[in-house]
Structure formats: C-alpha cells, structure tokens
Amino acid sequence: MTTARRADDGSWLILPALALLLIAFVGPLIWFFAQALATEENLLDRAVAVLTSKAVATTIVTTNWISLLVTLLVLLIGYPIAYYLANRNGLRFAAVLFCIIVPYFTSVIVRTYSWMVLLGRDGLVNQGLMAVGLTDAPVPLLYNKTGVLIGMVYVLLPYMILTIFASMKSIDPRLVQAARSLGAGSAYTFFRVYFPLSFHGVVSGSLIVFILSIGFFITPALMGGPSDVMIAMLIERAVEITFDWTSAAIMSLLLLIITLLLYAVYYRVTDVRRMMGG
C-alpha cells in the first residue's frame, strides 16, 4: 500500500465527528425506518394507501404551496436587502446587518411567539390598522394562512439575505464599471450584468429556504389554522396522538427523500462552505 508510507496528514481526525453522526443521527434514522417499516407486511400497498389518503394528500399539496409562497416572498423581500448590504459599508452596513443577525440567532420559538403577540386579535398590528382606519374590527391574522406566511417569512428571511449577499460580494465591481463605461445605464447594467451574476445566490437561497420550509414545524404548528397543516405536523401527530409509527415513517421517508434530492441540487450549485452565509 502506498498510503502506509505517506506521512500522517491528520485525515483520521474527522472520524470522531463521523462517529457522533453515526450514533446520534444516521444510526437512529436507519433503525427507525427499518423497525417502523419492517412490521408492515405489504409495505408498498400501505405506503400508497397512506400517501393517497385525503388528509396526507391535502397536506402534501398545502406543504408545497406554502413553501413555494414563502420562498417567493422571502426572495422578493430579501433580494433588495441583500443588494443594499452588498453595496454599502460602514455604519449603514452594520445597522442593516444587525437587524438581520439578531433575529437570525434568536430561537425560532421566541421569534414565532413575538409575532403571535403582535398579530393577535388585540395585538399591535390590529391596533395600528384600526388606528389609521384601515379596518373597523380586528382582522384575523393568526391561526390562518396569513399567520403562517408572516411567521415563516420572518424566520427564513435571514437565510435568503445572507446567501444572496455572499454571492453578490463575489461579483467583481469592475464588471459593473465596465458595463457603465460601455454605455449601459443603471437599469440596463442591473438587469443585464448584476442580476445574472447574482442569480447563483438566488438559486442557492431559494433552494435552502424551500428545503427548510417543507420540513417546517414550529411556526405553522403555532400560527396556522386547521387548514394549514404541513407534513411535519402530520408526522408529529402520527407519533404523539395516534401512535401510528408506520404512517409516520412512510411520510418521514417521503419528506426525507425530497429533502435529500433538493440538497443534492443545492450541493451541485453551491459552495457548501458558504452555507448560512458563513
């Protein structure tokens, strides 16, 4: 073996981390799927039955619909913020970054709770709407799709901003100068040069937000109504309420496979070291 003669370069130092993942992540996942699905004699029929049942089918549609909406909203809201962040420095940069980073590192449940307080019947938002005369009676903003969208957009916005920001930072500013020197105006420069060059970040950011959306649990569970059940909530209910481990495993497997496929696409288009805008 040639490897035996090569100097020890420390590659084995990765092993403890991989062992941890094996014990507390991959192992349990495999065990869970193997055990929960092994009890079923005719697995394929059961899987088809579970996934085509009205409740699950509706939930899959809802999950995709909400995730798409969230991704689109987060992209539209986040892109200009990332643009601003990438093209400013000093105090304005720091101030905007602060407003993104603080929520980003705050517990998801705390962030969700803060919007529940604001969006309630007597919450600040409704008070504000009534004070300016936009509405006479409180508008239902919580326990419906509006609530889920607001909550999820708020929680996921920083991921999009930081991902697009990272890709914008790698755009050579001289390309924009070149476009200007060649006679292009601001709008033409933006749409023909800047946006195409930042498109990479748009794709990465959208993928990561969509991936996180379809598996989202806390925010829709707390802020959604009866018709806003997402797949992760259905999985939790199968375990906690009906103790139906087989259904939970089937739904989990579907969600896991979709997530991994999307992650594979993300892996192709992105430098994973840049994940979370690092």
């Binding site: 050579d172 001289r174 390309l175 100068q177 070149a178 476009a179 200007r180 020197s181 060649l182 006679g183 292009a184 105006g185 033409y188 420069t189 023909r192 040069v193 195409p196 060059l197 498109f199």
Partner: protein, 313 residues
C-alpha cells in the same frame, strides 16, 4: 478612473474636442475602456460581450451582428464568438476586451494597464497588435502603464505622471533624451544625475561644478539659473570608458575608479566611482570593446556635451 468618470475630480477640467466632460456620468462619456483584469462578463459569451455596448445603444440586430463580427475579425477572434471567458487564454480575453471597447467607435479608448497580467512575450506581441488596430482605426488611445518599454513602444506621446501631476508630455524620443526634470529623467530608463552648482549660463549652454570641484558643460534645461543647484543628466549608454580616437565633438571628461560590472545580456553595466558616494553607470553594448581595466583601476569617462542636460533640482 477620472477620465472614465468612476472617480470624482478634485479640481480642474477634462476636455474632449473642446467639450468639458467633468460631471458627465460614465455611461454618457462614450469612452471605450479596457480594464486591467479585462472585466469580461463571465455570464455572456464572446459575441454578447462585444455586442454589449451596441445593445445598450439599441443598435438594430442586422447592423449589430455585422459590427460585432467585424470587431472580432479585427482582433482575430471571429471563430471564438460562442466561447465564454473561462474558455479563453489571457491574450484572447484581452482581445475580447479590446473588441468590446472599440466596437461602438468611441472617440477615445482608455486602457488601464491592459497587458499587466500577461507574460513578457505575449505582452510584446499584444503591444504591436494594439498599436496596429489603433492606427487602422485612427482613434485616440489613452494608455496607462508602469512599464517604460511598453510606454515607449506604443506611444505617439507619453505623459509622465507623478502623484496626480503631469511632469512631462512629449514624443517618446524627446521625453527619453530631453527630460524636463529629474523625475522624468529617472522614470524612463537608467539615468546618471550629477549634482552641482551652475556657474555660467550662455547660449543655451551651462557650466556646472560638482562639490568635488569638477566642471562639466551641458545643454541648459528649462528653469536652470545661474548660481543655483542643478543636476547634470546623461544616459549610461552615452558615456564611454577611455578617450575616443577621433574627437569630432566637444566632450566632458572625468576620472574615476572602475567598480562592479553586471552582465545584463544585451549590455555590460559598469559602475564607476568618481569620488566616495558618487557613482556613474556606464552601459557598453555586448560585443563592443570592454573597459580595458580591472575593477579598482582608474579609468577615464567621457561623453558628448550635447548628450547631457542640466536639470533643476
């Protein structure tokens, strides 16, 4: 950067054909620009890169295609129209940048150290190509470079800049042989500068005496006045070691001690110490006779009076 409009002007004006362009935004100046790192749009192919300024000006499709292809032909890249920047060599990327900068027929093309990233051989070849294109199209090119050989090879006129000020403007030969001041003299090539005091100014000629007491004759540079400090400037290749057989022209003479000799390929470079702390450089073409002395021995140096200028210090 100021000419292109990316940097603000602190003071003064910029005129193009008698129009002041200070305050005009970059996209309205209409200059072609070639950047140091080429700034080829990575997401557009060669054709679209070159078409970019035409599309920004809404040139009709048929004419656009014709003009892009003729620009690409000019830089001999017509077969690479579908390629992307990452599929091109440095020299080819450079040609794309040039084609892009000239395709909209700008009155002035700015080139900011365009060949800085290329190796020496390719650089020389590209210099000739750029020069050829410039003459073919008859356009004005403002070419920024730190490479003196490149400056002399390419220019009709050189402007030597020193921290934002123009020290001298003129044809390469004039700037090389008759520098306006010591900065310009040192900038292009090697220079000998002997400091002293002016003793006499007459008919465009001066007599300058160094601290050691040697007197030299020289042409009078601009701003040289009697009884003031000045530096005598002479190029190393004009200085000879030993007395020439036929003294047709008036020459300066000085004695010194031969020091280090370096072999630089096309020349031998000798250092000659006139007195402690004062050295002169003497370049002798490879293949010509050597100094005829060993290091440490005394030698006599001489050069034509007309090849030396007194410059103000």
């Amino acid at each position: 950067m100021m000419l292109a409009g990316f940097a603000e002007v602190d003071g003064g004006d910029i005129f193009v054909d008698r129009t002041n362009i200070v305050g005009v935004r970059p996209q309205h100046r209409g200059f072609g620009m070639v950047f140091q790192n080429y700034a080829i749009f990575p997401h557009l192919n060669v054709f679209e890169n070159v078409a970019f300024p035409l599309r920004a000006r809404r040139v009709p499709a048929a004419e656009l295609k014709k003009r892009v292809m003729s620009a690409l032909e000019l830089v001999r890249l017509e077969r690479f129209a579908d390629r992307y920047a990452r599929q091109l060599s440095g020299g080819q990327q450079q040609r794309v940048a040039i084609a892009r900068a000239i395709v909209f027929r700008p009155p002035v093309v700015l080139m900011d150290e365009p060949l800085g990233a290329l190796d020496k051989n390719l650089r020389y070849q590209m210099q000739l190509e750029i020069k050829e294109i410039q003459q073919q199209l008859g356009m004005t090119v403002v070419y920024v470079t730190h490479d003196q050989e490149e400056a002399m090879n390419m220019s009709d006129r050189i402007a030597i800049m020193n921290s934002g000020r123009i020290e001298q403007v003129g044809p390469p030969r004039e700037v090389y042989e008759t520098p306006a001041n010591t900065f310009a003299g040192r900038f292009l090539g090697e220079a000998n500068l002997l400091e002293g005091t002016i003793e006499e100014v007459r008919d465009g000629r001066v007599r300058l005496r160094t601290a050691a007491g040697t007197a030299f004759q020289a042409r009078a540079g601009n701003g040289v006045q009697n009884a003031q400090r000045a530096a005598l400037f002479v190029r190393p290749e004009r200085v000879r070691i030993g007395r020439p057989a036929h003294d047709e022209v008036e020459r300066n003479h000085v004695a010194g001690r031969l020091g280090r000799t370096s072999f630089l390929g096309n020349i031998h470079r000798h250092m000659v110490e006139l007195e402690p702390g004062t050295e002169m450089i003497v370049d002798v073409q490879n293949g010509q006779a050597g100094p005829g002395a060993e290091p440490g021995q005394s030698v006599e140096l001489s050069w034509p009076v007309s090849d030396s200028i007194a410059l103000p210090v």
